[in-house]
């Protein structure tokens, strides 16, 4: 287990290094100078040089990249003061510390991801089990057409429609906003309800289809036939025997989805104007804010890798035949 974790951690560090290097060097290939943007219209060469120095972009790009990396490990000194490790630098825009901004935005993205996942997982798997138990019947056909249509929906398409209909015209659902969970749990729930539901519409279908098809496959396996032959009830067979085997493909797609959701659900956050990581990323791209973008990119990549490792660990939990190496 420890060997597995060490190996994966080493792999993660390599991938994060490459991703940050690619982002860093490509971003500097734009002939757009952040110092000039910060300096404004009345800009003389002296103050331009000063801004360059204060942003830390007066050195050659490889040297800057090295400073950035060592800043993460040991902390870094800027003209404005010391930035303790792990230091991701300061925004080019408003000089706010990148790490703090990301940590401030994280709860929104995490709430969105966790709540959405709970809904689409519960609904998706339930519908999948119903469809599998009624294979070939009308309800199964209805559910598979429904999931086909749902999987063809897009957040940027359903979001505004739901807002217009249920929030503004009919006034059934609360309008989306983010409130701290610790401050006002009910407000948190009400504010995120619409984004969760809209997100779930898009994600549910994949889980319904996947759990249906793997359950049907599992029901034809030998161990299920044995369990039936022993006289177990259909319910026990389904939930104790077939269900376990069908978990692996579901856990696989869940890992991918959670990883990308924790890195910032850009379209969802944009549609519902929620202040999460995804919006932060879009804004920093539009504003040429490299330190902020790098920070979000590293966080998002780390989330993807983390969930990858988790998925592998969960495989071993589900199926004792799988050994972690």
């Amino acid at each position: 287990m420890i060997r597995f974790l060490l190996r994966r951690a080493a792999g993660a560090v390599v991938i994060l290094l490459i991703i940050s290097a690619v982002t860093f060097f490509l971003f500097y290939s734009i002939p757009r100078d952040p110092a000039r943007l910060a300096c404004g219209k009345t800009c003389d060469p002296e103050s331009l040089a000063m801004i360059r120095a204060s942003l830390g972009i007066d050195k050659p790009v490889p040297a800057q990249f090295w400073e950035y990396l060592s800043g993460i490990v040991t902390g870094r000194d800027f003209a404005t003061g010391h930035c303790p490790a792990p230091c991701l630098g300061y925004s080019f825009r408003d000089e706010s510390p990148v790490l703090q901004t990301i940590l401030d935005r994280m709860p929104t993205t995490a709430s969105l991801a966790v709540g959405g996942t709970v809904i689409f997982l519960v609904v998706g798997l339930t519908l999948g089990v119903i469809a599998a138990r009624n294979q070939g019947k009308l309800i199964d056909k209805g559910l598979s057409s429904l999931s086909l249509v749902m999987s063809s929906m897009q957040i940027y398409l359903v979001g505004p429609l739901v807002l217009a209909l249920f929030v503004y015209h009919l006034d059934i659902l609360p309008s989306p906003r983010y409130v701290e969970l610790t401050e006002d749990p009910l407000g948190w729930f009400r504010g995120l309800l619409v984004p969760w539901l809209v997100m779930s519409i898009i994600f549910t279908a994949a889980y319904t289809r996947m759990s249906r098809s793997t359950l049907i496959e599992q029901m034809q396996e030998d161990h299920v036939r044995t369990a039936r032959a022993k006289g177990m009830s259909e319910r026990t067979v389904l939930f104790r025997h077939a269900w376990r085997g069908s978990l692996i493909p579901i856990v696989t797609i869940l890992g991918v989805d959670m990883g990308s959701l924790f890195g910032g659900a850009m379209v969802t956050e944009f549609t519902f104007a929620l202040p999460g990581l995804g919006r932060l990323a879009v804004n920093s791209v539009i504003q040429t804010d490299l330190p902020m973008l790098m920070g979000v990119m590293l966080f998002a990549a780390a989330a993807i890798i983390l969930f990858n490792v988790l998925v592998d660990a969960v495989y071993a939990l589900i199926d004792p035949r799988i050994r972690l190496t």
């Binding site: 991938i15 991703i19 249509v149 897009q154 398409l157 910032g264 990323a281 791209v285 539009i286």
Partner: protein, 353 residues
Amino acid sequence: MTVRSAGCKVALNLTSVRTGGTLTTTVAKPVEPAEPTEPEQVSGRSPGSLMWRRFKRDRSGVVSACVVLFFFGVALFAPVIAWLYGKNPYTRYGQEREGLLNEFEYPVKPNGGIDGEFWFGLEPGQGRDVFTQLLFGIRTSLGIAVAVTLLAVVTAILIGIAAGYLGGKADYFLNRLIDLLMAFPNQLFFVAFMPIVAALFVDPSEETPTYIRVVSVVLVLWFLGWMTLARILRGVTLGLREREFVEAAKVSGASRWRIITRELLPNLVTPILVQATIMLPNFVTTAAALSFLGVGIMEPTPDWGRMFARGAEVYQGDLTYMFFPAGAMVLFIVAFNLLGDSVRDAFDPKGQR
């Protein structure tokens, strides 16, 4: 089964690869209950015609193929349709003519200004014609998606076959490359790299021409779009490499190029087509998401995704504007997914949906 032609040889291999040696053919799941086809009927036909026969029997597949073709037809003939209809997507009819938009710049007539002249109504604010905007929007989006799909398929073939057939070090490095690219946060990357790619061609202080925007979207989507297919093709090639017909070709002195193009490629058609039907609608929606987030195609170029961005701005005053692009997109994606399922069934009769 007698081997009569190269095509049939492929059929043999193809079926045995996909089904593990059995040649029983059942129709997967058309609307009618599955009926087994007699093996005598199967022998002697090329896999292409077999696939076509199965596909033609699948009613939902044929209908969705027609819908998809309709959309491609619309995209292709958008200028002709717009010319017959007598409008274009750029003219601001609502601002040029009195009585079309009210003081808040929303269409005067109900339902977003739909009438005999403006079939799908007018855009709030700018007062442009929605029908032609949608026509040309579909044209832009599908054009981008087709270009990305072609590029991604070619890349995947090159890399997948190289990794699978050459093996050894090449395989190792290409696999690590695929691993690495798959760990990239792709949505974030698309958004972050759009301005960079655009800036490679043109100075950011100047106006970026439309075609450069389009090229940038294509390049960005292509960069992270080919890995899944490449991995699939690598796996299939790995299996095919050890098979007798490849051995035979080698022994008979065929060059590597000939083996790859004549022996391997025909066997890769199935996974390529199946994966392409998954990729294309994905690229349509991802490109639309980029435009929605404000980093893809920009004003005034008509684009499907940009219509959703505009729709999201004005939905409180005029929901109708959003209605047609949204309906069209759902119809297109549903039809394409159905088509994809049918193509899969037609190629792989054993697999069940």
